[in-house]
């Protein structure tokens, strides 16, 4: 997945590698293990839904969708190009993309709507929303958090990619969000904190979140921005910068040696 992400961003020389690489294991866990979905029928009524609120990290979503079979992997290299279905920020024109995003802070509310609809329809569909930690500076996240617990949306699971870096710099420098777990608890959410690169922690945390009754659940996934590529790891410089030819070569070498 990481190699595909870097190849597509390198190909078009634009995109957001850092926050895509940090959430690879989260999306892999969802798409290849947890989600009830049908790549041949993306609008299947009883599907679980994955909402990418941090829509700039769409490369990781496109790779997960392609590797699930929503479209051919060869289409990945059309990312951000003219006439492509793979837009620069996630858009519903891509098969399997649930929400058009690109303006931070809206996905958790969208997930509230999706979860309410599932409850009205009395189906057991679960809605998962991936948030960025920098994104949680947006006030709308907390409007949505308040309403999700008010309406006891236990079919809603938020996952925060807590990679500690936002567009300009480290999150604690830009806007301190700690004590982060306490904030979610105060808003009435079930909270768990895990290593967001460990399948042994992610999958049990998702299963636990699904079993919680009477309140929504949030999983705070501690991750490393740019994970897997030494010179991108924990480097704010690679939030929204494409690797050049030499950087791609080095990254591929590192990822093949994994």
């Amino acid at each position: 997945m990481r190699r595909n992400i870097l190849k597509m961003i390198h190909e078009v020389q634009s995109g957001h590698p850092g926050g895509s690489l940090s959430s690879v294991e989260i999306l892999a866990s969802l798409y290849f293990s947890i989600l009830k979905h049908d790549p041949n029928n993306p609008r299947w009524e009883n599907r679980d839904k994955f909402i990418l609120s941090k829509a700039h990290a769409c490369p990781v979503l496109y790779v997960a969708l392609a590797q699930s079979g929503y479209f051919a992997e060869s289409e990945l290299l059309t990312f951000r190009k003219m006439n492509s279905r793979l837009q620069g920020h996630a858009h519903t024109k891509t098969p399997g993309v649930e929400m058009s995003g690109g303006s931070l802070g809206q996905g958790l509310s969208f997930g509230v709507g999706s979860a309410i609809a599932a409850q009205l329809n009395k189906n057991d569909s679960i809605t998962y929303v991936l948030l960025g930690d920098g994104e949680c500076d947006e006030g709308q996240i907390w409007e949505a958090a308040m309403s999700a617990s008010h309406y006891k949306l236990d079919n809603l699971v938020a996952i925060v990619d807590r990679n500690g870096i936002q567009n300009d710099r480290f999150t604690h420098e830009a806007m301190e969000i700690e004590p982060f777990e306490d904030k979610w608890k105060a808003f009435g959410w079930d909270v768990s904190a895990i290593d967001g690169h460990s399948f042994n922690e992610i999958i049990p945390a998702l299963n636990r979140a699904n079993s919680i009754k009477g309140s929504p659940s949030v999983i705070i996934a501690k991750t490393v921005k740019g994970k897997g590529v030494s010179f991108m790891e924990n480097n704010p410089g690679f939030h929204g910068k494409a690797p050049n030819k030499e950087e791609l070569r080095q990254a591929m070498e590192e990822l093949f040696s994994d």
């Binding site: 058009s100 309410i116 609809a117 949505a144 308040m146």
Partner: protein
């Protein structure tokens, strides 16, 4: 001066009634409120269908994005709030979340324009038509009375896609006997040969009074009720220009980006015609609605002045 007596009714009450009625027709109709539910009259729906009514408090960004999530899941969400809180306040959520993915969200707002009166400029939405017109995919409706409000809402709910429907707080003149709204069609109120008044919302009744007064001075006006601002009825605009050679637009809205701009675009591209615009040219203030309309020149007499001006421009052109 003609003294016309209209029966009056609140468009917001009509909206509350028709939503309650449609709740029984559409099992997937869901109403979202923002702590203004008595004022917007959606409590009627809430009483009948409590499981399909959700209050989110005054958190309009959240409400609009929740509506997008519901629409994406096959529901028909109604966002119910005041005009200022259903347009400019959550505009980014409307733009990215609703318009860009063309979702089936219906934003039905009350307390629009100057008629909200004493609450002052923050509550007076005079920019909302402009900003909603600027969104691809959106339909923008400004019904002229309570009867048309009901048929406009029925039409919006029967039509897939995003809608913005703009209603008032106080009782306004009843102009229609039966529900006759047709999406994208201007309604011919009366024929006339000298000029056409194209109006929307409460300005339609002002246009009728103005036309009465002008007739006594020998000027006969055609009147069009342009209750769909987007998509605008180009053919009735072009036909009016051809028949009368002069156009006056009238709206309870700022002069930029509203009905006047939409009509001007059609005229300029098809049949350049002398045009005057009755609209706000500045922010207003707190005050009784009727006095605000008078002071800020949104009254029948302002329409009369504009018609006389546009007719004189037409004559001058003919002479030269």
């Amino acid at each position: 001066m003609a003294t016309m007596e209209f029966k009056t009714a609140e468009t917001r009450i009509a909206a509350g009634e028709v939503l309650a009625e449609l709740g029984g027709v559409y099992p997937n109709l869901v109403v979202l409120g923002g702590d203004l539910n008595k004022s917007t009259q959606v409590t009627k729906f809430a009483d009948l269908y409590p499981d399909r009514f959700f209050d989110f408090g005054p958190a309009e960004q959240n409400i609009v994005s929740v509506a997008a999530g519901l629409a994406s899941s096959g529901k028909i969400p109604i966002v119910s709030t005041f005009a200022v809180f259903g347009s400019s306040r959550p505009y980014d959520q409307i733009r990215v979340g609703v318009s860009q993915s063309n979702l089936n969200v219906k934003i039905i707002v009350t307390h629009a324009g100057l008629l909200t009166g004493e609450d002052g400029v923050s509550a007076q939405s005079i920019e909302d038509i402009a900003i909603m017109n600027a969104l691809p995919n959106f339909n923008v409706l400004v019904p002229s009375d309570s009867v048309e409000t009901k048929s406009a809402i029925k039409s919006a709910i029967a039509t897939d896609g995003p809608f913005y429907i703009r209603l008032s707080r106080p009782a306004t003149p009843i102009l229609h006997e039966k529900e006759s709204f047709a999406l994208g069609k201007g309604g011919l109120i009366k024929e006339g040969a000298d000029a056409t008044i194209i109006a929307c919302g409460i300005m339609v009744s002002e246009a009728i009074v103005a036309a009465e007064n002008l007739a006594s001075r020998g000027i006969n006006c055609r009147i069009i009720n342009m209750s769909t601002i987007k998509p605008i009825d180009a053919s009735i605009i072009i036909e009016s220009a051809r028949k009368t050679g002069a156009i006056v637009t009238a709206e309870e809205h700022y002069i930029q980006g509203g009905l006047g701009s939409a009509v001007g675009l059609i005229l300029g591209n098809n049949i350049p015609t002398p045009t005057e615009n009755v609209a706000l040219t500045q922010y207003a203030e707190s005050g009784p609605p009727s006095e605000l309309l008078k002071k800020y020149k949104l009254s029948s007499s302002a329409i009369e002045d504009s018609v006389e001006k546009v007719v004189s421009r037409k004559t001058k052109k003919a002479v030269s």
